[in-house]
Symmetry: C2
Subunit: 216 residues, 2 copies
Amino acid sequence: MLKIKKLSQPLNSPDHIVWYNSHVNRRERNILNQHASGVLWFTGLSAAGKSTIAHGVEKKIFSLGIRSYVLDGDNVRHGINSDLGFSREDRKENIRRIVEISKLLVDGGLIVLASFISPFKEDREYVRKCLSGDNFYEIYVKCSIQECQKRDPKGMYDKARKGIIKHYTGVSAPYEEPESPHLIIDTEKYDIADSIKLVLNYMDREGLLTLNKFYE
Amino acid sequence: MLKIKKLSQPLNSPDHIVWYNSHVNRRERNILNQHASGVLWFTGLSAAGKSTIAHGVEKKIFSLGIRSYVLDGDNVRHGINSDLGFSREDRKENIRRIVEISKLLVDGGLIVLASFISPFKEDREYVRKCLSGDNFYEIYVKCSIQECQKRDPKGMYDKARKGIIKHYTGVSAPYEEPESPHLIIDTEKYDIADSIKLVLNYMDREGLLTLNKFYE
């Protein structure tokens, strides 16, 4: 059962306002929002269900008054990283920028739901290291390549098999399985609704949906 | 007088939760937060007071329960744009990325307080065009180059005059004055406290501190 703990006094109360010289910080934003901020990093093959789960989690926690933001290919590759391709170097820069944006969003009080294939162990280790102070959790959305190819909602695997798309993860480029993710969601065992529940339960256990873990 | 208008029902009430297939959008986040999101873009010479005013505004509106985020050289040039220098091309890319980050933050429900010299008219026009759907306001923090050089809190003007720093705005690189900013704050006429008040009054008049303008 997910519960949002309320402070005894509303944040707008003057008693809570401390004026000093430093900037508004993350802790203060978390208290205003009444929830922690952090990063859930969803990794896995294309069509494994990463973005669907991330958006489902966002919808659910929003209904609990929790602020989050999904970062995925849609708003990153078409926005800030529109200048980047898929070479090894560009993939690294892609990840580096996503990490930096995540830091800003976490500092700004949001829970980042980052949904990226992020196939390379080296990149994921970089992410984990950079975000270690930011309530970072790696979630492996697990699904066999056979099943992903069967789902193939965008027809990308088909194009990759035909060689129309090159260096496609799982077909012509490697996906290095996470060795020690915080959570594994096997979407061949669980449907989307249950996968979302698993993430929510995990967030609840980790205290990400309240202020308990971090400030009390 | 700044007032935060409250909805008659709390957002956590099930009556407010509409489940459908699209993502959580900006409007919904604004309603949860009980305030609009948008961008105040502070432009002006180094030492004119941009960042001090931006942080002061943030502190003040935070005390009113309004979520904002300051983007400035500190968290951008040392973070996501740490790979960029000060060539014309890099300055353009710097601005492009800040615009894209601003879009994410506004979509995420925050008021962005962007504090950048942004000396070129062409760049500011690009910013204005890109953010035209995001409650964008250009604020010119005006101060004579003589006064900025006198203040010189980081000793940068001194170094620029000695040629140690090259292409420094106002000394060896141009600052193109804004022609039609939304607001001008002359920091030779107003001290910091009054400058902050001018911005707050402007935000209030524009309805940025409530939901009135945008959703009622």
